[in-house]
Amino acid sequence: MTISDSVSVQSPDVLLQVRGLRKTYEVRNDPIEAIRRLTFDIHAGDLVCIVGPSGAGKTTLLRSLAGLLTPSGGSAKLDGEEIVEPPKGMAVVFQEYARSLFPWLTIAQNVALPLKAQGVDRATRAEKTAKALEAVGLADVAKRYPWQLSGGMQQRVALARAVAYEPRILLMDEPFAAVDAQTRADLEDLVRNLWHRLGLTVLFVTHDIDESIYLGQRVLVLSNRPTEILDDIAINLPDERDQLTTRNEPEFARLRAEVYERVQQAKAGRRPGDAA
């Protein structure tokens, strides 16, 4: 499925609109084309996963969408507004989540910091922070420091900070790549749970196919570098997902095979224009 670049009218509930986005890193003598051309829409309330091989340009895409990186061409708009700097109402959970926590601030202070920057008063800040930490199951470590927590707990703090911010869109960059399998399963359920309860819009980047299917309503499959969208797959699994039953459903197996094949083709260097 492709969306023509010329289409610029957007349907009313499109939150994030990406059109012909390109990024080439200008390294001396040797420009690295990371993103060739990306076009897609994210609707308000969606949970979309982006899956692609390592080095495909997933982080590059996310940093461009977050306004941390200037794209070489094309456009990305949040709610109709061109993203040129980190926009209001966007939260990001970085791949290097442990390094994204301020080691000199307590867990509660870390979570409250973005709220403070928005001018939220102290009482409201404390209330929202407590609620967010409660939601990720970390109410009892509010006064600790990040370096006193395990990796999985640090990841949940980064998530709590994003959630407390009440973003309109949450970007997550391979957030669970570095935690153990059990913690990872818990965190996946936590993301689904928060998305449901808070009505978030989530763009979740991963290189893990199972994770992308388990989490997403929709999976965008990226080719390897320079990246393009290979496929846009709707995930028609029941909304109530469960680590055991969902992963054992025939539909899950079918989707996994489909995405897996796409990613294998991506690794082999297949481009979107090629015949299947």
Binding site: L68, M90, V92, F94, S100, W104, A117, Y145, W147, R161
Partner: protein, 276 residues
């Protein structure tokens, strides 16, 4: 609470045990006590005019310093020291934050800084006397110039070394410029700033004394030189002893400040050594 965490907490408890504290204090004071005792007995009965017995020096201490000299000589020295040190701190940290944040500015100012840094602050004294006279201002400025360099250069390094992910986090969550300065830059560079401030303090003490050896009317350095010129050896030695004590007191105050402001840093380093 995970097992590793419990182990870590237990380790912290053991480290702060009474026995450990006593051993630590002993390790710190053992050598000074040995040196003082050695000095006391080896100099006892000394006939050398220039090296009087320690007993005589200690006896001279009280009448030399505690009969008004504290107010007329010591305090003026200390105020100039603190004044110059404060000026160096404000300029060094402020300018360091600016230069550390901007590669362009850094490239632009680097040659000039290298040149200025190479000039020993003491050779500035004759020039400063021309502009500022021989009053307190000249001495404060000499102290400030000398203490500035370690603080400035360490701050620049510290700001440069702040984690990129943390910078991105600050941008994504739209911290205000004021918060960015206080919470990201200042705290992030604080380990290096403290290192620079410690070096700056030693330089400041040296320059406090030296600046008082030029055309001074008061101060510890001035008084020591006065005793030396009038061959009042025990009094001169008592002045040197006083400088040593002043240095120890200042460094203890500094250590206290350091242990409070860098508590997170020592904790972070310990947790990294302990593994996660």
């Amino acid at each position: 609470m995970s097992a590793t965490e419990l182990v870590r907490t237990a380790r912290m408890k053991r480290d702060s045990g009474i026995g450990k504290q006593v051993r630590k204090v002993l390790a710190v004071v053992a050598l000074p006590i040995v040196l003082i005792v050695t000095w006391w007995f080896s100099s006892a009965g000394s006939q050398n005019f220039f090296f009087p017995p320690l007993e005589q020096i200690v006896t001279a201490f009280q009448p030399t310093w505690f009969t008004g000299a504290i107010e007329t000589e010591v305090l003026p020295s200390v105020w100039r020291l603190l004044g110059g040190y404060l000026v160096a701190g404000v300029i060094g940290i402020g300018l360091g934050a600016l230069l550390g944040s901007s590669p362009v500015l850094r490239a632009f100012t680097e040659p000039a800084l290298e040149f200025l840094r190479a000039i020993p602050p003491t050779v500035m004294i004759p020039i400063l006397i021309l502009f500022l006279g021989i009053g307190a201002e000249m001495r404060v400025v000499v102290i400030a110039i000398g203490a500035l360099w370690p603080i400035l250069l360490n701050t620049i390094e510290g700001v440069r070394a702040i984690d990129e992910v943390l910078r991105d986090t600050a941008r994504v969550y739209r911290l205000t410029p004021m918060m960015r300065f206080s919470t990201l830059i200042l705290r992030g560079a604080s380990p290096q700033i403290v290192t620079g401030a410690r070096q700056g303090l030693s330089v400041a003490i040296i320059l406090m004394v030296i600046s008082e050896m030029f055309a001074a009317q008061d101060g510890i350095g001035f008084t020591i030189i006065r005793f030396q010129k009038s061959y009042a050896m025990p009094e001169m030695w008592s002045g040197i002893l006083l400088l040593g004590v002043l240095g120890i007191v200042l460094s203890l105050i500094f250590k206290l400040f350091e242990s409070i402001s860098l508590k997170w840093y020592f904790g972070l380093r310990q947790s990294q050594r302990g593994g996660n």
